[in-house]
Symmetry: C2
Subunit: 442 residues, 2 copies
């Protein structure tokens, strides 16, 4: 059964590869049964009678994947940004997240978050909820309703939280996680669970062991934080004295990508087998050579969150190096370490901080280009969901329609210039249509 | 004659000093004849019958002064941002500025610029035009009409430009500058000329000498660029081998603030005497100790342009040091080295880059706080225009009314949090009213 068959016509733009963008003016992107059938300058015979939505000269680009953000933190985005990570967690974040024990507060807060995310440039996202199972399920219900495709994690944390934000024991945390996974089984079409140990300082070895078991039992991916801040890294070394480096403290429990022996590509979470543990690690600002090698060998995804790394004064991740090594790198807004939900802004931030890194730290590492940052926001992060982030044939049909007519200019400009301007100057007014897996979301 | 007498009622917020903000809820800011008569929780007897414009709980803050931007570059903001300064000037900027020889193009481009500036968070600005006298006067006419208070400079450049963007000789440049100053004499109420040698590489010694004479004859302030980029600094040393440092290459011609002997405060440009040369130098990213001392001694204003310094990969200026030394520091968007006209964004950028500077360069230099950055955007730059940037009694009445209701939140937040959110999350939709010197602009 064909769920849908239509074409969007306009100025189509997507990544050919990490270094090149394709610009196809007056062209058609065909959606067939949720997948892209290709981009055509004229509709092929087999599609000549399908409905065409003519967008004039508006830009049509693949959707963006936000590879790392915290839904409960959206409530206080853009405030309290004068602290480093550990103080910020204790003073602001933990007390705020504790509020989600109250389902009526969660409903109020998550309604705003989901509505704003729906109207943002994000089509897919990997989201941290809180440790509260009912609020996490509520968030998942709302996200399913929004039409976006997301992975959502009930957070695990059984140590070093706040009195009001910590699970009673490793066993209680594991039990609650299993209950969550059972309760949502079969409930959603495009909302997936993802295992979410907050970070090593929040999870005892016993809890990590349990999460490793759950991962292998349920075959679901995992997300966490890695090497964001010096204080955090030193603390992990204290807490896990036998780990060789921070990433090893996840790997010890089988929570750090696919073991080299398996030698499989990280693939769609739906198809994760017992050999694979698709993993996203946010930040990787201060990763050591050994850690980076393990990230590569085990196919771990890096969620680069430049705005957050600036706001919490963590530093600037060596993204040029990661790209050149062929690592999987996507972008994250990391709300509310980052304040903005805009993935266009994440692209701009990634370019900007890479220039400062070049200037201030290492002039052998060239800044990130527009092409590379756009790739990270589309295919880079999108591939964690499968074939996502492109209009090449066979990719899932995630598309955004952008009207840039309010960014006025007195002269002719190229399509690439139009895209670059949207990176730096757009806001939600520029988004006039959004499709995810062929579903019209707005 | 009283031009105006009214009060704005709302949540009033302004700098008490560099370290403290005042928040006055349900209060009145009284405007009398273009000046602020003070902020009151209840209207004093003498004002009890004046018209009150009740803004509910909207924020009312002083206007922002954009201390450095290029009007002709607004046309291509947000594009071509992958070059360093000198290449960027030659490849993009000079060819684009050459277009302003055509008055019909200038009209089209400046109409967009002035309209967007009018609807931005800027109430005052110090603006570079191009070297073209007619286009500069057109820009000044439009700015006068907008209601904003601005200083505008016809640019001087008689060397190292492009074939199509360079004045014929030092004498021709000086002559054209005099003609410009004569033609606009008495034409404007709130639009002022400012002498604008582009930067040392663009101006021969002969031209600088002429500009020194013009400054002393017309008693007008000056603006230029200083120590932005390493390539530029090395080039200045080649071009002016007798200068001790870059700033000295301006000072040699009497174009670098007020000489210590005069020992006068830099004051309203209208009152500049033969002893004073109120000066703005944009950037000062790589100033030497000697240069910084001269900036201090001679009361030179620094226009800190963090977004531009990031985009053109110039670096991060040591603003903590400048503030601690008591230098005059304001903020500039530096469109189109910067892409955004938003002074709220300039505040955010100033805070953000100062965190990266602290993290990556010098942990003895604390990041800039919200209070400090807000001060720079209001009084810091505003004081170049006189008593501007505060609601203390006697300040010129520049005010902005901000509706932040679209930045939703599920919980109660403080007024300071509301302000911080506007810094990070606002766009032009949040501006619902603007006054400059008591004039209602929007």
């Amino acid at each position: 059964m064909k769920k849908d068959l239509f074409a969007l016509k306009g100025t189509i733009c997507y990544s050919k590869n990490q270094k090149e963008l394709v610009f196809a003016e007056n062209s058609y992107a065909v959606c067939e049964n949720g997948l892209c059938a290709g981009v055509f300058s004229q509709l092929p015979e087999e599609y000549k009678d399908i409905p065409v939505k003519d967008m004039g000269d508006r830009l049509i680009i693949p959707g963006f994947t936000d590879l790392h953000l915290h839904a409960p933190q959206y409530a206080y985005r853009g405030t309290g940004m004068d602290l480093e990570l550990l103080d910020w967690l204790n003073t602001i974040t933990f007390p705020q997240e504790a509020k989600y024990a109250d389902l009526s507060y969660a409903k109020k807060a998550y309604s705003i978050f989901v509505d704003d995310l729906k109207h943002s440039f994000t089509t897919r996202a990997c989201i941290f909820a809180t440790l509260h199972r009912p609020a996490t399920e509520l968030l998942m219900d709302m996200l399913e309703e929004s039409g976006l495709t997301t992975m959502v994690g009930k957070v695990n944390m059984d140590r070093n939280g706040a009195p009001e934000l910590q699970e009673k024991s490793a066993q209680a945390s594991a039990q609650d996680t299993r209950q969550w996974l059972e309760e949502i089984k079969g409930r959603y079409d495009h909302t997936y669970p993802i295992l979410t140990p907050r970070f090593t300082p929040s999870c005892t070895d016993e809890l990590m062991t349990e999460l490793g078991k759950i991962q292998r039992e349920y075959h679901i991916p995992i997300q966490s934080h890695l090497s964001e801040n010096f204080g955090e890294i030193a603390w992990v070394k204290e807490l896990c004295p036998t780990s060789r480096f921070y990433g090893d403290a996840y790997d010890m429990f089988g929570l750090f990508g696919t073991k080299p022996a398996a030698n499989e590509e990280v693939s769609n979470p739906a198809s994760a087998s017992s050999n694979t543990c698709p993993t996203i690690m946010a930040h990787c600002v201060h990763s050591t050579d050994e850690e980076i090698q393990m990230i590569k060998d085990q196919g771990v995804y890096i969620a680069h969150c430049p705005e957050s790394n600036t706001d919490i004064a963590s530093g600037i991740a060596p993204i040029r190096r990661y790209l050149d090594m062929g690592l999987h790198v996507g972008l994250g807004t990391d709300v509310a370490g980052g304040f903005s939900l805009s993935m266009f802004r994440a692209i701009a931030d990634a370019i900007q901080v890479s220039k400062l890194r070049w200037r201030l730290m290492d002039q052998t590492q060239a800044p990130v280009t527009l092409e590379e940052a756009f790739y990270m926001a589309t295919i880079g992060g999108g591939s964690f969901f499968g074939k996502v982030g492109s209009f090449e044939k066979g990719y899932e049909f995630d598309a955004m329609i952008l009207d840039d007519s309010n960014i006025r200019h007195p002269q002719e400009i190229s399509t690439r210039d139009r895209l670059e301007r949207l990176v730096y100057l757009s806001d939600d007014r520029n988004l006039v249509g959004k499709y995810v897996q062929g579903r019209k979301v707005i």
